[in-house]
């Protein structure tokens, strides 16, 4: 009774493989379409970002950061960060990384906001989705690489796919919370004037949930950025791959430059998305 008996064997691995095979066989057409759509979107974003003159990007980022944070020096600082990234020779790689992040975030929002709304409107949906989100957030991020790899093979598409799965929970959660925390008084008033549930959602609940949703978008974006680095393991080109290569070659200097570039990019994205969230000037809502 010292070793665990070999005959007690749950063949979960075999089952998983079988299920995966089945999914691939039956839904391969679906995944092809999804993959093509993601790739199409990604390529256009990437092309666009690389087509933009670097000077323009730097000026734009500076202005947007200044507007968003209401501090002129923040704009200057963010623009400076971009210059630094360029000076490491990572401009193109940074743009590629950014393209993956943007594509993943856009798709995350397209999935996440409606899901969050559905959760807010039905307790049943919330009870079903909440544990799934909990599980997704406790899972180590590279676990998502496996299904992505199996469904889409190597390349950019599985990278975006894995990034989406990893990054989508915050925006779902915060959309749900934002809508649920709207004061019932206001909702009742809206209903009393004959607003349909849809009108109440569009006129009252969503607008009042925006600060919360913006926090969700910010978190989703940051998580997407951190995932992109890991997703480079399955073939996403960009700064992440640079770090990965540096680790493999034990090239500390290069790894440091790439790592710093990612951090700077993260700071820029974080400051801008956080600044864009409307200030809660009417938080003391209805009494």
């Amino acid at each position: 009774m010292i070793e665990f008996p070999a005959f007690i064997h749950v063949p979960l691995a075999e089952w998983t493989d079988a299920a995966m095979d089945w999914i691939l066989r039956v839904f391969s057409g679906v995944f092809d379409v999804i993959g093509d759509a993601i790739l199409f979107m990604l390529l256009y974003i990437e092309k666009f970002l690389l087509w933009l003159p670097w000077t323009l990007v730097i000026v734009l980022v500076g202005i947007v950061a200044w507007r968003a944070t209401h501090r002129w020096w923040a704009g200057l600082l963010m623009a400076g960060f971009l210059v630094l990234i360029g000076s490491f020779g990572y401009w193109d790689l940074a743009m590629m990384t950014l393209a993956i992040v943007i594509a993943a975030v856009i798709i995350s929002l397209l999935i996440g906001i409606p899901t969050g709304i559905a959760m807010a409107r039905s307790n049943l949906v919330e009870t079903i989705i909440r544990p799934i989100l909990d599980a997704m957030q406790t899972m180590p991020s590279f676990v998502y690489l496996i299904p992505a790899l199996m469904l889409f093979g190597l390349g950019k598409v599985p990278a975006v796919f894995a990034t989406i799965i990893y990054a989508v929970p915050p925006v779902i959660r915060l959309t749900n919370v934002g809508i649920r925390q709207v004061s019932p008084d206001v909702i009742e008033a809206s209903r009393s004037f004959g607003a349909t549930p849809r009108q109440t959602l569009m006129e009252v609940q969503l607008p009042l949930a925006i600060p919360s949703i913006m926090v969700g978008i910010n978190q989703t974006t940051m998580m997407a950025l951190s995932m992109v680095v890991i997703a480079s393991m399955i073939g996403a080109r960009g700064l992440g791959l640079e770090v990965l290569l540096a680790i493999n070659r034990i090239d500390i200097g290069r790894g440091f430059e790439a790592g710093i570039s990612i951090v700077l990019l993260a700071i820029i994205i974080d400051r801008i998305t956080a600044g864009l969230a409307p200030k809660q000037e009417h938080s003391a809502s209805s009494s």
Partner: protein, 410 residues
């Protein structure tokens, strides 16, 4: 302060509630048709886990009246009015709005009802914090799909009606409580509904503002003539605003009547307590509230002179005095005309028989029975029969409404 009782008695029924029940909880059947007898609300809660909020309530609201629903906190007033718009689903019973049963309405019809027929004003205002005052007032119209310029013009009109001109572009959080509630009232009126339901609209305001808002509501009502179902837990407010008052206790209506009935004939101890607690009438005397009439007649004046005096001052009755202000009685235009037709020469022939009178130290509470039984002012006369002043029935009720503050003030 005069009570606003000038609504045309209209027998047309706007809202009719028949045998309405509302039970919160899962074991509703158990409460409704069980053989077990329950001993009050707490008993039901203990045995079934259900809250009996409305118990077999019936009443009618007539077109154009202010019907006040009064009761202590937790008596089920809010639940009741929410049931009328089906913001809460009633458990059993009928609610007829202009004869149509709301409980049978489709979602579509319900939406129409809320958009066009009834609007609601809430205790906690329920304003949209992210929209400015103009947009808030226009909200009901926007929901209906009215074009922007049109709805904003209408909203502007309502904002002016409630005296908030100049505040259109502010957010609700910039306004005081009283102003926010004005926005709530303007919003409710903007859809031009036939009926208004107001759930303790002034309870959150301090007494001074509250009184002012009550006056304004009466002013507005004079202009718009809505059917109003008004909820309050304040007797003064009920007496001031209500054409009729229903008193609720533990989910039941225990008395319905006009203000005089409620004051003079409280149907049970609960109402009496309510009335006594709230009533300065126990201490006020006739002397405190009497007034000097604008016109007095004298016994030596002829009927034609009397008619002339009354008509030129647009009165239809006046007291008649003798020498030394001795009180003689009261004449009405109607009686005077009869006398003139019959060739009578003295106004003493036209005196009303059996006129009630009181002395200067009569307590106001004791004036209630007199006030109810006469249409005329009540003369105040001293022990020697000298006329001191008059009291209008409206003043008697009005005196109850004066706040303690004004009492202390003078």
């Amino acid at each position: 302060m005069a009570i606003n009782n000038i609504y045309l008695q209209n027998e047309e029924i706007s809202i009719e509630v028949n045998n309405l029940w509302k039970i919160f909880g899962d074991n509703v059947e158990k409460v409704l048709d069980s053989d077990t007898q329950f001993d009050g609300k707490t008993d039901i809660l203990e045995k079934t886990g259900c809250v009996l909020a409305i118990k077999d309530v019936s009443f009618q609201v007539h077109r154009g009246e202010i019907f006040v629903l009064m009761g202590l906190s937790g008596s089920g007033k809010s639940t009741l009015v929410r049931c009328i718009l089906r913001l809460i689903e009633p458990t059993a019973g009928k609610i007829l709005i202009n004869g149509e049963n709301v409980c049978d309405c489709t979602a579509q019809q319900l939406t129409e009802l809320r958009r066009h027929t009834i609007s609601m004003v809430f205790q906690y205002f329920g304003l949209l914090p992210h929209r400015n005052i103009l947009q808030n007032v226009a909200y009901g119209l926007k929901i209906r799909g009215m074009a922007k310029s049109k709805r904003e013009a209408k909203a502007q009109e309502m904002i002016e009606l409630v005296g908030l001109k100049g505040w259109e572009s502010y957010l609700p959080s910039a306004l005081s409580g009283g102003m926010q509630q004005r926005v709530g009232i303007a919003r409710a009126l903007s859809t031009d509904p036939e009926m208004l339901i107001m759930d303790e609209p002034f309870s959150g305001l301090d007494p001074l503002i509250r009184r002012q808002m009550q006056d304004e509501l009466l002013d507005i009502q004079e202009k718009v003539h809505k059917t109003i179902l008004f909820v309050t837990h304040d007797l003064h407010e009920a007496l001031k605003l209500g054409n009729r008052i229903a008193i609720m206790k533990d989910g039941e209506i225990i008395q319905i009547g006009d203000p005089e009935e409620v004051i003079t004939a409280p149907s049970d101890g609960y109402v009496r307590e309510f009335v006594q607690d709230a009533s300065p009438a126990k201490v006020l005397t006739a002397k405190r509230i009497m007034e000097q009439p604008n016109v007095l007649l004298y016994e030596w004046q002829g009927p034609k002179t009397a008619i002339h005096i009354l008509e030129s001052t647009e009165l239809d009755n006046a007291f008649v005095l003798g020498r030394g202000s001795k009180f003689r009685g009261l004449v009405t235009v109607e009686r005077l005309l009869e006398i003139i037709k019959g060739g009578g020469k003295s106004i003493m022939n036209a005196l009303e028989p059996d006129l009630l009178r009181c002395t200067s130290d009569t307590i106001v509470e004791d004036l209630f029975p007199l006030a109810v039984s006469t249409r005329h002012p009540i003369p105040v006369v001293d022990d020697d029969g000298k006329f001191l002043g008059e009291i209008h029935t409206s003043t008697i009720l009005g005196s109850m409404i004066q706040d303690k503050e004004t009492e202390l003030g003078d």
